[in-house]
């Protein structure tokens, strides 16, 4: 403490405190947002179910069982459908790095054709939701206005009002939708991966899903008033920034205003007169 006491009034102390604050904010922000992996998978190829079965038994069966019947570690995939396989594998969540309640988006280790093959094999086991056509997920054919209302009512609680993601219970989180492709968004709604509820076609018809996709893709190109997006997570970041940044800045200004000056400053004559 005496080391700090001896130095806290130096002119450089204010700048040092500011720098320290900025570094801490940058580190916290970086640790919260760093997430690797880019993935993209095309849709439309014809699945080869035999090849898909071979791939499945080589890479998936250790957890899901040789006939996809499920094990104590992972659920049965009979009836899961091609859409679920497509979502999980095209976002790099499967094959999972470890067994847990939640898998993060990661690098994709399979080609689009291989994913199609495995999806075709799983679909052949017991039906389930299929991968949508390109037209079903075309954002230009959707109505972002209707999509906004649907998104606000059913998605924004977890994914944030602009799809920036958010926290769930017990350390889980809803991922940001910034890199999800229209087909991935569609298949996620259709199958309800992990903690996400299912929005199947009875509750949300395909056109409604397309409206939601149109809204999500529209938010990505919206300009940021003021120039900074702040992660688009809403009042939380804005409050954090103004609290740490704005309030801290005002404190530093106050320190500077009342700091002791080091340069020559006249007293003497007027001081003695005032007495």
């Amino acid at each position: 403490m005496s080391w700090i006491n001896a130095r806290r009034r130096r002119p450089a102390a204010g700048y040092a405190a500011l720098l320290l604050g900025l570094v801490v904010v940058a580190l916290v922000y970086g640790s919260l947002t760093s997430r690797g992996g880019v993935s993209q998978a095309a849709v439309g190829a014809q699945p080869d179910i035999t090849a898909g079965k071979d791939l499945f038994q080589a890479t998936c069966s250790s957890c899901h069982g040789l006939e996809a019947q499920g094990t104590s570690q992972a659920p049965s995939l009979i009836g899961a459908g091609a859409a679920a396989v497509y979502f999980q594998m095209s976002t790099g969540r499967m094959p999972a790095k470890e067994v847990g309640a939640e898998n993060e988006r990661g690098p994709v280790t399979f080609t689009p054709q291989q994913i199609e093959d495995i999806a075709g094999y799983v679909a052949s086991l017991g039906g389930g939701p299929a991968i949508p056509t390109a037209e079903q997920v075309d954002p230009r054919k959707g109505n972002p206005g209707v999509g906004e209302e649907l998104f606000s009512a059913n998605c924004a609680q977890c994914h944030g009002f602009a799809g920036a993601g958010g926290a769930l219970t017990y350390g889980k989180d809803a991922p940001p939708l910034t890199r999800a492709t229209p087909t991935q968004i569609y298949t996620a709604m259709l199958t309800g991966p992990e903690a996400m509820p299912v929005f199947d076609d009875g509750a949300l018809p395909p056109e409604a899903k397309r409206d939601i996709i149109a809204y999500i893709t529209q938010t990505r190109v919206e300009p940021n008033p003021g120039g900074f997006s702040l992660g688009r997570t809403g009042p939380v970041t804005e409050g954090l920034v103004i609290f740490l940044g704005g309030l801290g800045f005002l404190v530093l200004i106050a320190l500077w205003i009342t700091a002791r000056r080091r340069d020559p400053r006249p007293t003497g004559p007027i001081g003695t007169e005032q007495k």
Binding site: N154, Q157, P197, V198, F199, A203, T272
Partner: protein
Amino acid sequence: MSDMEETEGAEAPVAPHRVIGTPPPSPRLLGSTAVAEPDAEAAAAVADGGEAVPEHVVGLPLDDPRVVEHGKRAERVVAACFTLAFFTGCGFVAAYVGLGVHTVDKTLRSNLALGLSLSLTLVLLGLGALIWVRHLMPDIEMTEERHDLRSDDKDRQTFEQTFKQGAGYSQFVKRPLIRRTLMLGTLPLLAAPVVLLRDLGPQPGTSLRHTVWSPGRRLLVQGINRPITPAQFNAPGSMITIVPEGYEDDADALTKAAVILIKFEPGQLQVPTRHAGGTLIGTMNWTVDNIVAYSKICTHVGCPVALYEQTTHHILCPCHQSTFDATTGATVIFGPAPRPLPQLPLAVDSSGYLVSRSDFTQPVGPSFWERG
């Protein structure tokens, strides 16, 4: 600056003043400052090391060449700040007059220009004033005497006399008719606030206890406003936000009537129980085909709760982390919510669509003291 320089006797050291409310300086410090050491940094370091109130250090005389040179530089910086403030202030006026606001883009640009120019003007004025105070005004400690709040007896007597004299001249005491009619005339003004405040009503009455849900009212999917059948809502793990038919766009009604619909696997849903008038009642017959409907309004402070995890069957309120277990009648398992989310009794109408069996049987939203 020029009139300051005329003063003489600059070398006389000033004894340290003690500010009221501060501890007395230690004897060691008194000795060190009495030397009138012009090096302020050294004195400050001694004061800091001693953990005492820093003493007032006597600076250089006004006519010292270093002070004069420093003052000239500071004067130029202050003048530059004020001049820049003039230009940014002109920029504010120009932006207000010149930039249109009739589209979103134009308004954004106008707001940016107005905010930037006005804040720059104010910051530059403040900065100039600060540099002025810190670098030009001499560093003088002054002591101001404190006076008693009570006036002295002579002043009080004079005031009393003046008051009585005025009262006599006005004949306020002598003429009761005027005095009483004046009081009568101001009486309605005193009553006016009562009337005005009363008109802030009407009182909520029993409106907090009811929503627009009524027997046979269809459940519509919010956004696409379509009724839904149990067969359409048949994927376990599904969740959707529901609005009452006829009130799809009535924001006032929806603030209380919004509902979330959740579908379970057979056997997952345990018998939800409710207290009604002190007795425990089962509400399994309020569900249809493992579909259950809960109020979307949190019972804590009324945030919308729709953060539903299909793996854990938890409904989480994003405002204060109240967590409800959807399988057991939305009982509170964590957080500040005082009671479960009210459950909407469901039925199926003759066309096969999901409808409400009745209104909620208890008030929705934040709990209030007469809830019953």
